[in-house]
């Protein structure tokens, strides 16, 4: 954020008492005049950011994904999206990454909510390098952006030469026998699963990193479907999320492929650490590998 603040004086940070969790303290210290902390008032934070955007600024508003997408939902929709403003909504605690905080701090609906609101570009980075580079790209992006970020540390997938493009999926691992389509923290698990499938079964599985959920890269979906086998996975409710977005493309284009979805199976569960929950819902490395093997009809070791 500090780099963005240096690059463009229209950049403003608005917090709602989650500056430390959102890790933008450096910006606040470097640019106190362009930093606001409105207290625990997410609705005001989003409307206030909309007002700043009306005056030509590029506000970055920070909160946890459940509060950004639900507490301030109408403000996002009516104050930001309806007016097509350059507000950036940066939301941590995506999916079940809030883990032991429990369902109040999980965000398993946010993508569904944001997907159904016109004008909003939805981003979900899969590693630190991608997150930083996508954030850089948001400066010149026209219209509102919602970025959901997991709190889990993930293994780095990309190196500094990587240049993501908003709206175009990245290929985190090549392969033509089958494909994972996933986003966020699930991508690194899929990369590991793909590597093991190659080693253990000799099949080469592509990992499509769908860092932009909306607008969805339909070509990347169709290309993955052409392999004949797809596991679509996201740290989100299967309803409303990436799985549903991908299936819409398949239905629209009359594409037939063997498809399996991995995500939260439309229910609330009690708090637990994130890896335990990912395993429970079958989108950790092991679960993804298992699902792909089932899809391909590979049994045993």
């Amino acid at each position: 954020m500090t780099k963005l603040g240096e690059a463009d004086e229209r950049v403003i940070v608005v917090n709602a008492d989650l500056m430390n969790t959102s890790r933008n303290r450096k910006f606040v210290e470097r640019f106190p005049d362009r930093s606001f902390n409105v207290g625990i008032a997410e609705q005001f934070m989003v409307s206030f950011a909309a007002g700043l955007a009306h005056e030509g600024f590029i506000p970055y508003a920070f909160s946890m994904a459940p509060f950004m997408s639900m507490r301030a939902c109408e403000q996002v929709r009516t104050d930001v999206a309806y007016a097509d403003l350059n507000v950036r909504l940066i939301a941590t605690y995506a999916g079940l990454s809030g883990g032991i905080s429990g369902a109040t701090h999980w965000s398993i609906e946010d993508v569904g909510i944001m997907r159904s609101i016109p004008n909003i570009t939805i981003l979900e980075p899969s590693d630190g390098i991608q997150a930083v580079k996508l954030l850089d790209r948001t400066i010149d992006h026209k219209g509102p952006v919602y970025m959901r970020i997991s709190v889990d540390p993930v293994s780095e997938i990309y190196d500094q030469t990587y240049e993501p493009v908003i709206g175009r999926a990245s290929v985190a691992a090549g392969g033509d026998d089958a494909a994972f389509i996933c986003s966020g923290s699930v991508v690194s698990a899929a990369v590991e699963a793909a590597a093991e499938l190659k080693k253990e079964c000799g099949i080469s599985v592509r990992v499509v990193d769908m860092h932009t959920i909306k607008p969805l890269d339909e070509e990347a979906v169709l290309s993955a479907a052409a392999t004949g086998y797809m596991v679509v996975a996201q740290d989100h409710n299967i309803a409303g999320g990436l799985c549903e977005a991908v299936s819409t493309v398949l239905a629209k284009d009359h594409v037939s492929a063997e498809v399996c979805f991995a995500g939260i199976s439309d229910r609330f569960v009690a708090m637990a650490h994130a890896p335990y929950l990912y395993h429970m819902f079958g989108y950790d490395r092991e679960g993804l590998k298992e699902k792909m093997k089932n899809l391909l009809g590979i049994t045993g070791q």
């Binding site: 005001f44 409307s47 206030f48 700043l52 009306h54 005056e55 030509g56 009516t78």
Partner: protein, 296 residues
């Protein structure tokens, strides 16, 4: 920086007499009723807020319809978005578009004017509103944006209803505007004591709004919001836009003001008048004006 509007036009506007302002408000009310004869509008609230809207758009605000994006203009946010008819009519009277356009296009498919203000079709609307408790927090962002740009001349005028005061987001804004020392923000509350379901004191008992805003550190004025002289006195003597306290004007008004069969009747929150009702209403309004200023 120079305004788009010429200094002569500015002078004419600011030299409007009390009688001229009351005549302007009378014309607005009669147009509202003509419109209400054609379409269902939020006539009760439109009539209660008509004087506030008239003095802001036709007198107080520096706003040139030839340059609606002028950086140095005053900003306006209609937080009670359902008062769009009275806003559009006032915009018409300062030359944004012909008055008859508002009456003809209102609530017509493909038209520019409807139940709530929409910036997609009306370039003189900065902020689309309708859902309550939204415009006011946005106005705070606009006011802070002006400060950041070093514009200490423009003000942000926001008009709310008293029913709207029940929204939690209003109080998030009240606290933050004070904290941010937004002296360039002027919030009018059209305090007509009625909301859609009836008397406000029978709903949430949001009493003593002036005391509540003052307790949050606002500069508060209280007045009869249907008495042009009181409104004029307030807008003529606002603290400087660069001052450090946001301003609230708690304007006590009468829903349906000026029309005998509508005054203080919750059922006239929204509705349509018959030809006969229109005639009665216009007679009421004209009579009220004539009694004060003499027949023209």
């Amino acid at each position: 920086m120079e305004f788009g509007r010429s200094s002569v036009e500015d002078m004419e506007r600011l030299n409007m007499t009390l009688q001229e302002l009351e005549k302007a408000a009378l014309d607005i009310r009669i147009d509202l009723l003509r419109l209400c004869n054609r379409e269902v509008i939020h006539i009760g609230g439109d009539l209660s807020v008509a004087d506030i809207m008239t003095i802001l758009w036709q007198y107080r605000m520096d706003y040139d319809p030839k340059c609606p994006d002028d950086e140095m203009r005053d900003r306006f946010v209609l937080s009670k978005g359902h008062a769009s008819a009275v806003t559009s009519l006032n915009q018409a009277y300062i030359g944004c578009f012909p008055v008859e356009n508002v009456i003809d296009e209102y609530a017509q498919d493909g038209g520019r004017f409807s139940m709530h203000s929409c910036s997609l079709v009306n370039p003189y609307v900065d902020v689309s509103t309708g859902s309550l408790g939204h415009g006011f927090p946005i106005a705070c962002g606009i006011a802070e944006g002006l400060r950041l740009k070093g514009n200490d001349k423009s003000r942000v005028y926001v008009v709310m209803g008293d029913g709207e005061q029940s929204e939690g987001s209003v109080w998030e804004a009240v606290a933050n505007a004070s904290h941010l020392k937004l002296g360039n923000l002027v919030a009018f509350i059209d305090n007509n004591d009625l909301s859609a379901d009836g008397r406000i004191d029978e709903l949430t008992a949001m009493t003593d709004l002036a005391g509540k805003y003052a307790a949050f550190g606002w500069k508060v004025y209280e007045c009869n919001g249907n008495e042009m002289s009181e409104l004029k006195d307030i807008v003529d003597n606002l603290p400087d836009a660069s001052s450090d306290k946001p301003v609230a004007v708690v304007a006590h008004t009468v829903k349906g003001c000026g029309v005998s069969f509508m005054e203080n009747e919750a059922k006239w929150h929204a509705g349509k008048v018959t030809e006969e009702q229109l005639k009665t209403a216009v007679d009421d309004l004209q009579g009220r004006y004539d009694r004060k200023w003499g027949k023209m």
